[in-house]
Amino acid sequence: MINRRHLRAALPFLSLAIVLAATFYVQPRTMSYFGLNLMLQYAIPIALATIAQMFVITVNDLDLSIGPFVGLVGCISATLLLNDPLLGILALLACIAAYGLVGALIHIRNLPSIVVTLGLSFVWLGIAVLILPSPGGKAPVWLKAIMSFQMPWVPLPIIAAILIGGIVHVALMTSSFGVIGRGAGGNPKALQRAGWSMLKTKMIMFSIAGFFGVLAGLSLLGLTTSADAHVADRYTLYSIAGVILGGGEFIGGRVSPMGSVVGALTLALAGAFLIFLKISPDWQIGAQGAILIIVLAMRALITSGEARR
């Protein structure tokens, strides 16, 4: 018997395969080490930002500030981290701590996370512009070296995607702590009745999100080699779309790390595919939205079939 839940879990992989096949069909030259590397390299920061978003969605919140946050991390890294590594590391740690505090604020004051993070997105952008008023700065050499590393046989982005997805899967889906994190999204009351602190859980989940946001910023800077406060503004929507494409749901603690990474890859590939189709960049974001709607419609079909059964 085919379990519909499994079918739904397979959907993100299926979508990726379809987009990949379509890309190969339109532009056969992409079917090479170099081609894949070029198409997928920007998927690494998107995947990391998507994982960050996923940790926030796990506890039934939404982070509308992840894009500007990634931009801020880039600006910090291209200036502070480059010139004074110790200060730079402290600044990045402060960014992660700030995320933890946002989680605490949202929980204690019972505020809607959408409002809080929407406000914060302007704060991050403001700080980034203060640090780096016009695009510039330089990526630390080691960061560039990591991001341009040529893996033998398999392109780096693919290895990175498997590593990120695998590590987060173990941490969130199979570890005993991950159970608490997901439980906090599934039934917060039950968790509290069992004596767990929702405050601590939310702070930890938000801090992990901050951590992955920092990784996203660093990897993006390693690719672009110079920073711009606005470079990652689109990441907010990409990350949410990635989580949802990957089989996650906005509430109920249902997320999939592997799926989220695959969702991020699909979005990055869809961008490349649309370029190959010579669709003007003006239409691209709309076309990506259409892909998202198609996948979600398929999922809704599967789910409604499940409910009828």
């Binding site: 005993s176 159970v179 997901r182 439980g183 599934g186 039950a190 004596g195 109920g252 603690g253 249902r254």
Partner: protein, 483 residues
């Protein structure tokens, strides 16, 4: 002196003006199954929340295993003292597997191989309580039918890791179990108490209480009012203990002048959703009460009538919500807007709202309901709870609705306001309006022409005004055993 598992002395808990617990003294001995019964609002669920640490008492002391709790009493403290509870509304995480839910209860389930240990723990307990249960520890809760979820939660409550198991509270544990599994559970309670664990059993099935418990405590108005060994009670004496002498004599005998058996029938409904089950009939000018234990289908029936599902309704309706904050008031709007929202159709001119007519209507109802405010344009939240409720009544009564559905609307309303509203209901009924009134307060049934008592989502009794008594309602609310 016998060893006691837990002891409460003079525990009190109030929510605003409502005294949920009015000085409870309770001793549960080790190895005892204590049956706990009481009607709506008797304080059972508040008591449970105090025991499990999710509420802390205002005054009074809690003694666990001979040690009086002096520090902060919290869910974590209760957990490590070995107190577990199976709540009526399930507290499992639906997105996690059975084994993962066991992990949430037990902190030591961590590190390498925790999942295997969790699976074995919960599987062994399920096998022990419910042989041939058919639940796999890897099953996700959301995929399990309600009965199996309840089995998983019960088994989880009885699993033991590092903390000792001292007391398990079961709140309506058999509500979703079939007869066989319910029997298995009751047999297991006997085995578990023989090992020295204490159990508190709460159930509306009196047969279950009488057969499974050693001792029975009856709660009423936030206090324990009777306490005897189970053998000292029978069904009749339990029901009698839950009621009160003063009530049983009182009943209302004035039938609405407007409503006679010849009055037109406005509403016909089958609360159980079948075409053949007991039918509810509402005639023009009648006040119909829905009684029974909370959560036995009364609110669902009101919503069913409101959406005309398995119900034929021959009149415009209006719904007065009980939970004001969630379902009732628009809390950013003025009092006037809150009152007139249901009547906008009659207040429009050329497709726009006629603000003068709106104001007139609001002022008229301010006077008729005696809403205490200097200005109807003030925000609705400037009113006291009782006056907010009056505004909601005004919303319904100002409309063209002739059938008014009320979902326990007097919760947390002061007695003065209540009396004013009761008069209003009677006079509106005399003018030909019909009311369907779900109430958890026995006193309010005295204003009804007919009462339907609900049990397990079905009508279990139909009582006419002359013969409404608390005893009869309790009899119909509590079943002998699972049907």
């Amino acid at each position: 002196m016998t060893l006691h598992a837990i002891k409460l002395d003079g525990v009190e808990k109030s929510f605003g003006a409502v005294r949920a617990l009015a000085g409870v003294d309770l001793v549960v001995s080790a190895g005892e199954c204590l049956g706990l019964v009481g009607h709506n609002g008797a304080g059972k669920s508040t008591l449970m929340h105090v025991l499990t640490g999710t509420l802390s008492p205002d005054t009074g002391s809690i003694t666990v295993g001979g040690v009086t709790i002096s520090g902060e009493w919290s869910a974590a403290a209760s957990q490590s003292a070995g107190i577990r509870c199976v709540f009526q509304e399930l507290s499992l995480c639906p997105n996690l597997s059975v084994a993962e839910n066991a992990r949430i209860m037990h902190r030591p389930l961590k590190g390498f191989g925790w999942k295997k240990r969790a699976s074995e723990l919960i599987r062994a307990k399920l096998d022990e309580i419910f042989p041939s249960h058919g639940i796999d520890p890897d099953d996700e809760i959301a995929d399990l039918p309600i009965g199996k979820r309840q089995m998983a939660e019960i088994a989880r409550a009885f699993t033991v890791m590092s903390d000792p198991l001292r007391l398990v509270i079961l709140d309506e544990p058999t509500s979703s179990l079939d007869a066989v599994t319910a029997e298995q559970l009751l047999a297991y309670i006997g085995k578990e108490t023989a090992k020295g664990t204490a159990v508190i059993l709460i159930s509306h099935l009196l047969g279950e209480i009488l057969s499974a418990s050693n001792r029975i405590v009856v709660m009423k108005d936030g206090k324990s009012v009777a306490e005897r060994p189970a053998g000292g009670f029978d069904r009749a004496s339990l029901v009698a203990a839950m009621g009160s002498e003063a009530h049983s004599a009182k009943s209302h005998s004035i039938k609405s002048e407007a409503a006679t058996d010849a009055s037109p029938i406005l509403v016909k409904a089958h609360p159980d959703g079948s075409a053949t089950g007991p039918e509810m009939i509402v005639r023009k000018g009648e006040v119909i009460g829905l009684a029974g234990l909370a959560g036995h289908g009364q609110t669902r029936t009101l919503l069913q009538i409101f959406s005309r599902d398995h119900a034929s309704v021959d009149a415009p309706m209006s719904f007065i919500a009980g939970d004001r904050q969630t379902d009732g008031v628009f809390n950013l709007w003025s009092i006037a807007r809150n009152v007139t929202i249901r009547s906008l159709k009659s207040l429009t001119r050329y497709g726009l709202i006629d603000s003068e007519a709106e104001e007139r209507l609001a002022d008229e109802w301010k006077n008729r309901m005696a809403i205490r405010t200097p200005d109807m344009d003030n925000n609705i939240l400037t009113l006291s709870g009782g006056n907010q409720q009056k505004a909601l009544f005004a919303r319904a009564l100002a409309s063209d609705a002739t059938v008014i559905l009320m979902d326990d609307p007097m919760r947390g309303v002061d007695i003065g306001t209540k009396l004013e509203v009761y008069d209003m209901i009677r006079s509106e009924a005399a003018n030909g309006r019909s009311f369907i009134w779900y109430t958890t307060e026995f006193d309010e049934l005295a204003y009804c022409d007919r009462v339907y008592v609900f049990r397990n989502g079905k009508i279990s009794d139909e009582i006419n005004a002359g013969s409404i008594s608390e005893e009869r309602i309790l009899q119909a609310s509590f079943a002998e055993s699972a049907a």
